[in-house]
């Protein structure tokens, strides 16, 4: 089965529907009009370019090109997480990038090699979309956890001092905020997982169905990708918070003020 194409005119017509939310924003003076227009513009441009790039990526199907593309996605994701959390890129990029790479490697390896096993294993049609889905999902989880964690540390300095003066290590002193940041990051995906199929048909399933796959096959892919998102998300959040710890405090146990380098978006 071949997927029905969408003509350019029909696609453009669909853009007109944006006038509805823009109208609400104008009426409420919500200050979101510029943001939405810019976001849609960026999305259109990025997806158009990615579409072109993916075409080449699929036709070359080179292992190094695919790995390079995943590396670029990891760097961009790390930067986005750090900027969105309003913390210093310079200080935290290495630990965040390391945590995301670790999470990706731990989950993507069995997912590709054992569960899906495409031929060849580095087939861009499988590797690239699956990596993208994983990254896209743990992006929001890490933004939530990093933003919460750093802001709570900042507003609980006295608690931290008190803990350090009771002999706590850095890991012990930050544990209440670590735990809560982890819970907050994982709660949405756990909730989504519990209601999947009942109130939502997720992207992977929809994509497979539109691409002509049998529902039974589409469901298996969906199950595997959700499990991968939960596992990779948990690893990335846990390890990001763990890896950044060594950068957050001075040798004297003070929270470094220069980690709050950029404005929260």
């Amino acid at each position: 089965m071949i997927t029905t194409d969408i003509s350019l005119e029909r696609l453009l017509f669909f853009y007109l529907l944006l006038l509805v939310p823009l109208g609400f924003m104008y009426y409420l003076k919500a200050g979101l009009i510029r943001k939405l227009v810019l976001a849609v513009f960026r999305m259109t441009l990025q997806l158009f370019l990615v579409g072109l790039y993916l075409g080449h990526l699929f036709s070359y199907n080179s292992i190094w090109l695919n790995i390079g593309w995943i590396a670029v996605m990891l760097v961009v994701a790390s930067g986005h997480i750090i900027r969105s959390a309003g913390v210093s890129w310079r200080i935290l990029v290495t630990p965040v990038l390391a945590a995301l790479t670790l999470a990706m490697a731990v989950v993507l390896t069995p997912l590709i090699i054992y569960a899906v096993a495409p031929v060849p294993l580095y087939d861009a049609r499988y590797l690239i979309p699956m990596s993208g889905m994983l990254l896209g999902n743990f992006l929001s989880m890490n933004i939530i956890s990093l933003r919460y964690f750093t802001s709570e540390l900042r507003s609980n300095r006295q608690y931290l001092q008190s803990a350090f003066c009771s002999g706590a290590t850095v890991a012990e002193a930050v544990r209440p905020f670590y735990r809560e940041a982890f819970v907050r990051a994982l709660t949405p995906i756990i909730t989504t997982t519990g209601t999947m199929g009942l109130i939502s048909l997720p992207g992977m399933l929809t994509g497979q169905l539109l691409g002509g796959s049998l529902p039974t096959v589409a469901i298996k892919y969906q199950l595997i990708i959700i499990l991968a998102i939960v596992v990779a998300g948990a690893i990335s959040v846990f390890m990001t918070l763990r890896f950044i710890l060594c950068r957050l405090f001075t040798v004297y146990g003070n929270l470094r003020e220069d980690i709050f380098g950029t404005k929260v978006r």
């Binding site: 609980n156 006295q158 608690y159 001092q161 008190s162 803990a163 350090f164 003066c165 009771s166 002999g167 706590a168 290590t169 012990e172 209440p176 040798v251 004297y252 146990g253 003070n254």
Partner: protein, 220 residues
């Protein structure tokens, strides 16, 4: 081993462009009970931050048991002190959780208190709280005394009270004073307190007035 616990020699501190103190000298020995006082903004709590190693002097030296502050010395210091701040942040649901929190840290696990010990100190400080009492429902004065119970259960050699009795009435303050004075006299505990309370200051064995930089000794 030296009997000297803390030594500040010629310490000056500039914070945010403001000179909080200069050429400050202070020695605190094992078993001392010293009260730091002075007008608001004179740097009393800042001095405590300096002693605890959270701040470093712009000039001069701070020593703990004769050694400069570096990672190892800081770890030793922070395993030797118990600190009660003016507004303790307890981050716990119940009184029991609040009290037991520091005993979850590896270096304190062997000190895990018996329920009878907890009851003893709660009664000693006239706290009518049960282990299940919600922390959210207790007053500021009760929080200060609860933090003091926790500090005492740690059985440290040095107790630092940074305006830790500010929310107590005079009878409760006297109770706390007598208790820590007794611990200092009987068990050789070094007590460093910051207080505005004239009767506390008057009864202290040693006082140190910020801004005046003179230690008055020998009063009981």
């Amino acid at each position: 081993m030296t009997d000297n616990v803390f030594c500040l020699a010629g310490c000056s501190l500039l914070l945010g462009g403001k000179r909080l103190f200069s050429a400050l000298n202070l020695k605190i020995d094992k078993g001392d009970f010293i009260t730091i006082h002075g007008r608001s903004g004179s740097g009393k709590s800042t001095l405590i931050q300096l002693l605890l190693g959270f701040l470093q002097p712009t000039e001069g030296r701070v020593l703990f048991r004769g050694e400069e502050y570096e990672r190892k010395v800081l770890a030793q210091l922070r395993a030797t002190v118990a600190v009660v701040f003016q507004e303790p942040v307890l981050l716990a649901e119940t009184v029991e959780e609040a009290i037991l929190q520091p005993f979850g840290f590896r270096c304190n696990r062997e000190l895990y208190p018996e329920r009878s010990d907890i009851r003893f100190w709660l009664e000693k400080l006239e706290l009518e709280l049960t282990p299940d009492t919600a922390v959210a429902t207790i007053s500021g004065g009760e929080k200060q005394r609860l933090a003091l119970v926790r500090a005492l259960l740690l059985k440290r050699d040095i107790l630092i009270l940074d305006e830790a009795t500010s929310a107590l009435d005079s009878a409760q303050r006297e109770l706390v004073f007598k208790l820590v004075a007794q611990l200092s006299a009987d068990k050789g505990m070094t007590v460093i307190s910051v207080s505005h309370d004239p009767s506390w200051i008057a009864a202290s064995e040693r006082t140190f007035e910020m801004g005046v930089a003179a230690v008055r000794e020998g009063r009981e």
